[in-house]
Symmetry: C2
Subunit: 263 residues, 2 copies
């Protein structure tokens, strides 16, 4: 339960650099969790130094597109492999890259199941963001509250149960082939586990009453048992207790009391 294994490791030999907005988990969290699960030392640049955000802004606004190994990037999160300088962006794509290179995905065709579940989790994550930003990403929540209340009603009413039910079924399906497995695909942890875990954690943070209600009405026992089991793994316990795990804030998963209950 040390607070700084990542930065300690990073000082030794960071293998990757994560570039993301500082101070919030956001989409960067899906990448952090994959890196933590893989046990790879990395540098969380924007959070480890005040100047770090300059690297992010610099990379995004770079106009030079000639004779460089770095293809244009539109949005963070961005991952840079420090040895090769290869830059990769788009959350599911970074996860795909880490899956291939850090043993977080199988080598056979079930790797496409890992990607499929991951993309599905990210879809609900995006919808959870749209709940408080239904009209436009450039506006504040306070400026789109009536629309947010409408969106939240459908999100609570059907979307959470639909996706949580899907993942519950995914676990049952994997158990039918790997009865002893604690993971979503096969019997090894993959980036689908870390991503769906973060989704369940984030949705539970944002809509605690709704999730509590679903536990009673729908059950989803396999999903929540899997969630708790993963939370109990040493690497995740260590990470969650560290300062590298940022508290939820003004990111994807936000808790607004009025969006969690019927008005």
């Amino acid at each position: 339960m040390t607070d700084l294994p990542s930065s300690k490791k990073a000082k030794l030999e960071p293998k990757y650099e994560l570039l993301y907005w500082p101070g919030l988990p956001g989409r960067g969290e899906y990448i952090r969790l994959a890196l933590e699960a893989a046990g790879v030392p990395y540098k969380d640049t924007s959070n480890e130094s005040k100047e770090g955000i300059g690297s992010l802004i610099g990379l995004m606004s770079r106009q030079k597109v000639t004779g460089s190994d770095e293809a244009p990037v539109l949005c963070p999160p961005i991952l840079r492999a420090l040895e090769s300088s290869f830059v990769v962006s788009q959350t599911p794509n970074i996860l795909l890259y880490l899956g291939d290179n850090e043993n977080l995905a199988p080598k056979d065709d079930t790797k496409y199941l890992v990607h499929q579940y991951t993309l599905t989790a990210l879809d609900l994550g995006n919808e959870a963001h749209n709940v408080h930003h239904p009209v436009g990403v450039g506006l504040y929540y306070e400026d789109q509250k009536p629309e947010a209340l409408r969106y939240a009603k459908e999100f609570r009413g059907s979307r959470i149960a639909k996706f949580f039910g899907y993942f519950d079924k995914v676990i049952k399906y994997n158990k039918s082939n790997y009865p002893e497995s604690a993971y979503l695909v096969g019997d090894k942890i993959s980036y689908a586990d870390t991503t769906v875990w973060q989704l369940v954690d984030g949705v539970t943070f944002a809509f605690p009453k709704k999730v509590e209600e679903l536990k009673t009405t729908e059950g989803f026992e396999d999903l929540f048992a899997w969630y708790e089991a993963l939370k109990g793994e040493e690497w995740l316990k260590d990470y969650l207790a560290s300062k590298r795990r940022l508290p939820y804030g003004d990111g994807i998963f936000r808790h607004y009391e009025e969006l969690d209950v019927d008005q």
Copy 2:
């Protein structure tokens, strides 16, 4: 310019089955274009027979998750490899699978650029859908028109230019390494080309006035030249002239006059 090469080929030996809602391009179109570019015979089940949609519904509502090779699927599009019966879903994931198996992506690390550009194009495609469905996917456009007008304003005002500008830069970047290339990554067609092409085509269909304005104000000459060049390739000309290319309708890209201009 025959109308039915796909079904003719399909009768000979379809390699894949595409399962998607019938009668509209939608997200299935990204898959169709990749299959057409690869020149692989496929069966567009829901569009080729009236009973086809039964296969789709059956697969989605399947409760049995034991002892099967088919992992649970949540949403179409779904691709089934007919030889192995392997089922894969989630648009970018199907494209990844086809990239690996049908030579629509490089084998080296630039394959992650193909995925990155594809995911970015699909992001704007999703936003284009949110323009007419900002509050909830389960509601009609007519029931969320005021919200749609607000969303459309931001979408027109900044999002199209941001993404089109990005892809224009992507083309410039690739040209700096492959001056003769007509494609987005390296000097071979990939599923990034087919996906970004469909995005530009769809956004232009939905927001013709805005796109015309952007051509004047922003230029994006490389992007539009690339778009036209791809449209001129034999396989795409054939496909667009065939009945397999469905007209835009009530899908992702919709043209509503009031969403294309300032109110």
